[in-house]
């Protein structure tokens, strides 16, 4: 049975590396295959990595406040690239200014992200969601260990 593969990275010109490392560690601990493309990754880098590795999900981090701008259009490009149904998650500091979280979450959902997480989300929370989402899609059985 193939392990679930997640492409992980920090989008745009963002250099915040600490959370990215922690996410990689947590995903590996959960028994997942992680392709970490690191900080300062473009949308195309994410898609190319996902294409090459046949990934099940893309986890995008944005910490520095350009999240909305950097993340927009990723779903459409996935579609052209032939991975239109890949799971897209976003997290980090997606809240900009005074907007409340439900608004931001809706915004990211509208941009085609399956899930978006508020600041301070623990990696485990999202890993459990991933388990559910992949199970729901039914194209692969969840086998963490």
């Amino acid at each position: 049975m193939d392990k679930t593969t997640v492409v992980l990275g920090v989008i745009g010109a963002d250099v915040h590396a600490v959370g990215n490392r922690i996410l990689e560690y947590s995903l590996k601990q959960a028994g997942l295959n992680v392709i970490n493309i690191g900080v300062m990754s473009s949308q195309n880098d994410f898609i190319n990595a996902a294409l090459e590795t046949g990934a099940d999900a893309i986890w995008v981090s944005s910490l520095y406040g350009h999240g909305e701008m950097d993340c927009r259009g990723l779903r459409e490009k996935c579609l052209e690239a032939g991975i239109g149904d890949i799971l897209l998650y976003a997290g980090g500091n997606l809240v900009i200014g005074k907007r409340d979280w439900p608004y931001v979450e809706e915004l990211f959902r509208g941009m085609g992200y399956d899930r978006a997480y508020p600041p301070g989300t623990l990696p485990e929370t999202a890993i459990i969601d991933l388990e559910k989402d992949i199970y729901k899609k039914g194209d692969k059985n969840w086998r963490p260990c």
Binding site: I47, L51, G65, H66, E80, A81, I83
Partner: protein, 471 residues
């Protein structure tokens, strides 16, 4: 040595004979086009008072008659492969009827057949990317009663399969390279070339335009493609004849206003990041609602009747009744070959043209968006930055024959744009295609590029130096 160059338009057939040795015009003439019964009738009438044209070294024509080269583009995502396909088709000089994205439905197919395109351009997926949508769309087209030739310019991984689908459906499918082989990377030259080939091999004949071949050497391209060819040659120059560098051509017609930019459009300011699909160096956009005759009502709608009326009052420095303006708009829509007959009509035409230039430029150029972030202000450019372009050339009947071309052209300037974030040329030279030669010179460029540049440099003049009435 002479060249006879013909532009067969939907209303007029225009002819010009050039003395290639002396680089001068021998004669220009025009007559009504009569495509329905025989293009050659219009052509012969246009040549009625030409002498010795039969022995011209080159006898070439371009055409926008019989509806021009009517195309439909189909892609996957609207901003990606569908847009790439659209740009390829426009760059080939086509008239875009419509662009479709995602999966075609039965209703879409019906609409496509009612639009009667000459060519369909089918894209979708990067190379190795999405397969399902282009295959689905090929099946929809192949299984329909459409008989339009299809150019396949999508995902290379399924191109062969798509071609087979057309073969099995008894349809013509022509293979070329993907218009967007990698994400956001534009590759439109091969598709453009394929469109040109099909135009020459199939479409001219299908439209009955091949008859001109009994008189001329050949009809070699659609008119807008000839204008684009001339514009890009004037920008680049040829051998010892230096070009003008990056430039913009604005072609104001009865039905549309075309803008061609020959420019990279890269950001001119520091700290600007460029977003979206790559921009073609030679870019053509067509505004189907901005035209001087057929499209006058929609042009007026885009300007706003009240705004146009105010502009007219200011120009006349006196009041007048609104009916005068409304009546003229109704008149020119009905009589598409109407020429401005008195002072007010000349002024209305001038204002319409200036607004067409203004709006078509606003839609052609890119935009600089300011985004506020914790980092401070961040600038994102979408589309082409043409602020640094040094030359804008105006062409089309209204501008060539109006007595104030400079006023019309100035609609393209940055300072006259409706929004300050539009990247229109700031301080360009305003030039005029004074003898309406761009399309014919695009034809000449095919055979004598050096001479074509020489002619352009001679007859494209500063808009301030020429005044319509005394030409």
């Amino acid at each position: 040595m002479e060249a006879l160059l013909i532009d067969i338009g939907s209303t007029y057939t225009k002819a010009v004979m050039l003395d290639l040795k002396k680089v001068r015009i021998i004669k220009q003439g025009q007559a009504y086009t009569t495509v329905k019964d025989d293009v050659n009738r219009g052509l012969k009438k246009a040549l009625a008072d030409f002498t010795g044209w039969e022995k011209a070294e080159y006898k070439l024509a371009c055409s926008s008659a019989a509806g021009g080269l009517k195309m439909i583009a189909v892609g996957l995502v609207p901003d990606l492969t569908a847009e790439a396909a659209r740009r390829a088709a426009l760059g080939a000089g086509s008239k875009m009827l419509k662009t479709f994205s995602f999966e075609l439905t039965a209703i879409d197919i019906e609409e496509i057949s009612s639009l009667e395109p000459d060519i369909l351009l089918l894209a979708g997926g990067t190379d190795g990317g999405n397969r399902d949508v282009i295959v689905h769309n090929a099946r929809m087209i192949a299984g329909s009663c459409l008989h339009t030739p299809v150019i396949i310019a999508g995902n290379r991984a399924v191109a062969g399969k798509v071609q087979d689908i057309f073969k099995q459906g008894g349809k013509e499918g022509y293979l070329t390279e993907n218009v967007m082989p990698r994400l956001e990377e534009l590759n439109i030259e091969p598709a453009r070339e394929k469109i040109r080939e099909l135009f020459l091999e199939k479409i001219i004949e299908a439209k009955g335009l091949d008859r001109v071949n009994s008189i001329l050497d050949g009809l070699v391209m659609p008119t807008p493609a000839a204008v684009l060819r001339a514009a890009s040659l004037l920008a680049s120059g040829y051998k010892d004849e230096r070009g003008l560098g990056e430039l913009v051509v604005i072609d104001i017609g009865g039905a549309t206003t075309d803008v061609h930019s020959i420019a990279s459009g890269k950001p001119t300011r520091d700290g600007v990041s460029w977003r979206g699909l790559e921009e073609p160096f030679k870019k053509r956009t067509v505004e189907g609602d901005l035209g001087m005759r057929y499209s006058a009502p929609s042009l007026v709608e885009a300007i706003g009747f009240n705004s146009l009326f105010t502009q007219l009052e200011q120009a006349l420095k006196s009041g007048l009744s609104r009916e005068i303006l409304q009546d003229y708009i109704d008149l020119i829509k009905a009589e598409v070959d109407h020429l401005a007959a008195n002072k007010i009509e000349v002024i209305i035409d001038r204002l319409l043209a200036r607004n067409a230039v203004n709006l078509s430029t606003a839609r052609h150029v890119g935009v600089l968006k300011t985004i506020y972030t914790p980092l401070g202000v961040s600038l994102i450019q979408e589309g082409k930055d043409l602020t640094g372009v040094k030359n804008i050339i105006g062409t089309g009947g209204v501008i060539v024959y109006n007595d104030n071309p400079k006023f019309i052209m100035s609609g393209a300037l940055y300072e006259n744009q409706p929004q300050s974030d539009l990247l229109a040329p700031v301080e360009p030279e305003l030039l005029l295609d004074s003898k309406y030669l761009l399309a014919p010179l695009g034809l000449l460029a095919e055979v004598e590029p050096l001479l074509a540049v020489k002619f352009m440099k001679k007859y494209i003049l500063k808009a301030g130096d020429v005044c319509g009435n005394d030409r």
